[in-house]
Amino acid sequence: MSSAREIVYVVDDDPSVRKGLTRLLRSGGFASETFESAQQFLDQHDARAVGCAILDLAMPGVDGLRLQTALREAGSVLAIVFLTGHGDVPSSVQAMKQGALDFLQKPVGDDQLLAVTRAAIERSRKLDVERRELADIEQRLATLTPREREVLGHLVAGRLNKQVAADLGTVEHTVKMHRARIMEKMRVRSFAALVRLAQRAGIAGPPPSPR
């Protein structure tokens, strides 16, 4: 099954809930790891892990919401699903605002839980792919010289070679040379592909000319 690689992390202070969830997830084909407290999870967690985290909202010590914040700050791509013993509107709103995938009330039926888990893993996976792509782009950008980054900025802003040369106080030919080098380093064939990459990496054009 495609989900075999991803792990579902269950954090709940109640051992019987942990046991039950583990079994249910296994019956749905998910591998899981359980933690009895948020702290234990944070201590053992790998920030690059991909998958789903099912968190109990109310736990002694660090509760579910604070665990969610900590994971986000650590750059985790885990999709978070909250479980709670009773609906608490302010907590659920905060959880969703912080990007939780869902907020489920105990007891949760198998279909709902497995479906949400599947969706969570899907989302985590997507996030992971995006994160990898971004990392790749960042890596290529890192090979550019400062002058080339400058030129790239101007080009992404949609300026012609001639204009760039004028702005940078050089000749058009030199700009053309830079452009070819940049496309080679960024491993793109077309100028349009280059612009797309730069935009994903968050590179915008230079500030408008003072003149």
Binding site: S16, K19, G20, S27, P60, D63, H86, D88, D110
Partner: protein, 620 residues
């Protein structure tokens, strides 16, 4: 000195002596008759019988004395003088008897000696000489008394045995003086007057007679000794006192009737009824109110069984025992009991009874008061208290509802996921039966757990009667902490529990005491809202050996000193949505358990709510 009959005053002519003697005799007899009648009606007053004896003896003596005074020959005189002695003996004896019974004082030996010497004189009277006074009477002297009345006086030799009468008189005087002084010392104003009048009359009588006797025997005075007037003085004095007693009795009965009326009025105002039970005859008497109260037949006698028949069967036996014990062992009793009346009414009465004070074991006296209304009000008040406690409990649980839902949903979550996992495993071909068995065991465990939460919760929500039972306070604390656990977690409260070992048990209502602790914990949590590191310490301990103390300490800002007492008052609250009833209901509950509840601030910060409950004796 011979005297002839012709010298004597003509019998046809009445002298003042005749008149005086006759008047004294009839007055004496009348008085005696009156008091004989009184004695007949009231046999305990023996003095009246003695008085009657005296009042009869005096006229007899007086008649004989008259005969002596009018004797025309020595022989006549001797006969009269001899026969005057028996009534004289009776007079002395009744004087002694009267003083003894009327004063209640006087030495027995003196009394006996007086009467004995007088009896001896009586014997001598008929055996030696012509009488105890004279050996012989040789003649009669004519003596003119006041008013020109001439009487006879004896001339002859005295009987030496006359000394017996002198001794007897001396003894009588001694006896009367002693008895009078004893009464004087002992009695109040009334008794002193009695001592003065009766004792004074007697002593005057004895004294005058002695002085006259002395002069006559010495030959200085030639005269008969007219004792009748002296005795009459005594009769009048005694009759006067006895008459006063009658008057007093009348006044007494009048004031008794008045006080009875007042008592009736008071009894009516207080709705009291009186009853008494004559043990020997088995007769119950009650006043009119009592008959209405117990719905007793107005006609015919009532027995104790009739009365007990009106008492509710549950209490009949114990009341019967109490009444019989009151009669037999002088053990007063007091109780409240139900009457099941023939009309079908049920009333509550307070009943008190005791043996008649200072009386024999013969009568039990008591009062009864209708307490039906008070009982009903008390029951209603208790019900109101219980309802208020219930409301306050439900309100407190309402605050906890989220946590309670969590407590139940946890095991439900375990059950559902385990069960559905099992269904899924079973849908596959390869079933691991061991795992299914394990799953089922876990489901059973979770189910029990959910049941346990409900078990703990149900009585708190139930609206029930107060049920006293023997409780382990530590277990009670454990239960309440389980119920609040989730709330404490949600509020980030660190909870420490310190339970004392070997705590004695307490007697109380589990639900109400849980409610108190629940309120303590909720209040502590509210006090710590927004405070850094909220910490709760729930502790039990044995307080000076007689009380079990439960305390809940928080790490909040403490209670303003002015409010330490006020937080237990109804409607006092510092919370936005508080009813102000929680702690006031707690105080009612703890007080009803005979315990104490209070709040105090800790020097190190935070406040502590405490309650103590009386420990049960170690006999479990």
């Amino acid at each position: 000195m011979p005297v002839t009959i012709a010298d004597c005053p003509a019998e046809a002519q009445m002298t003042w002596i005749d008149v005086a003697w006759t008047a004294a005799a009839s007055a004496s007899l009348t008085l005696g008759g009156v008091h004989l009648f009184v004695w007949f009606k009231e046999r305990t007053q023996v003095a009246r019988l003695w008085f009657f004896a005296l009042s009869v003896s005096v006229p007899v003596f007086g008649f004989i004395e008259l005969l002596a005074m009018y004797a025309s020959t020595p022989a006549e005189y001797v006969v009269a003088s001899r026969w005057a002695q028996p009534p004289l003996f009776l007079i002395v004896a009744s004087m002694v008897g009267f003083v003894r019974s009327y004063f209640g004082t006087g030495r027995t030996w003196l009394a006996i000696a007086t009467v004995a010497t007088r009896a001896a004189a009586l014997i001598v009277n008929f055996t030696s000489g012509v009488s105890v006074l004279h050996r012989d009477v040789t003649g009669l002297a004519r003596v003119e008394l006041w008013g020109g009345v001439v009487v006879s006086a004896p001339v002859g030799t005295l009987n030496p045995w006359i000394v017996l009468t002198v001794i007897s008189n001396a003894l009588l005087a001694a006896f009367v003086i002693d008895a009078t002084m004893a009464l004087w010392r002992r009695a109040g104003a009334d008794g002193r007057r009695r001592a003065t009048v009766v004792g004074g009359a007697l002593l005057t009588c004895i004294g005058v007679a002695a002085v006259m006797g002395f002069f006559i025997s010495a030959g200085t005075l030639r005269s008969p000794t007219p004792l009748t007037p002296l005795f009459f003085v005594v009769v009048v004095a005694m009759g006067y006192e006895l008459g006063l007693d009658l008057l007093r009795a009348v006044q007494l009965s009048r004031s008794l009737a008045e006080s009875e009326r007042r008592m009736d009025l008071a009894a009516q105002a207080a709705e009291l009824s009186f009853w008494s039970w004559d043990v020997r005859r088995d007769r119950v008497w009650t006043n009119a109110r009592g008959r209405t109260q117990f719905e007793l037949d107005t006609a015919g006698p009532t027995t104790l069984a009739d009365l007990l028949h009106r008492v509710h069967p549950d209490e009949r036996e114990s009341l019967s025992t109490a009444i019989r014990e009151a009669a037999a062992q002088d053990k007063p009793f007091e109780r409240e009991l139900r009457l099941s009346l023939p009309s079908g009414n049920v009333r509550w009465i307070g009943l008190r009874g005791q043996r008649e004070p200072d009386g024999p074991a013969g009568t039990v006296l008591g009062v009864a008061i209708d307490v039906t209304v008070r009982q009903r009000l008390e029951r209603e008040a208790a019900q109101k208290r219980s309802e208020l406690a219930h409301l306050s409990r439900v309100a407190t649980l309402g605050e906890l509802s989220g946590s309670l839902a969590h407590e139940i949903n946890q095991p439900l979550m375990g059950i559902l996921s385990n069960a559905q996992a099992a269904q899924r495993f079973l849908a596959h071909d390869s079933v691991n039966l061991d795992e299914v068995r394990e799953i089922l065991a876990d489901i059973v465990e979770d189910d029990k757990r959910a049941g346990e939460v409900i078990r703990r919760l149900r009585p708190l929500l139930k609206k029930g009667e107060v049920q006293l039972e023997t409780l382990d306070v530590n277990r009670l604390v454990g239960d309440v902490i389980r119920l609040t656990r989730n709330d404490l977690i949600n509020r980030d409260v660190a909870t420490n529990v310190s339970l004392a070992n070997d705590l004695p048990r307490v007697r109380g209502d589990l639900v109400q005491l849980q409610q108190v602790l629940l309120n303590f914990i909720m209040n502590a949590c509210d006090a710590m809202d927004g405070q850094p590191n909220p910490t709760l310490l729930v502790a039990t301990r044995l307080d000076d050996g007689h009380c079990v103390e439960v305390s809940v300490k928080d790490s909040g800002p403490g209670v303003p000193p002015a409010d330490l007492e006020r937080i237990f008052q109804p409607f006092f609250t510092t919370k936005d949505h508080g009813t102000g009833l929680g702690l006031s209901v707690c105080r009612t509950i703890v007080n009803a358990h005979g315990g104490r509840i209070w709040a105090q601030n800790d020097p190190a910060g935070g406040a502590t709510l405490r309650m103590t409950l009386p420990a049960m004796a170690e006999s479990k």
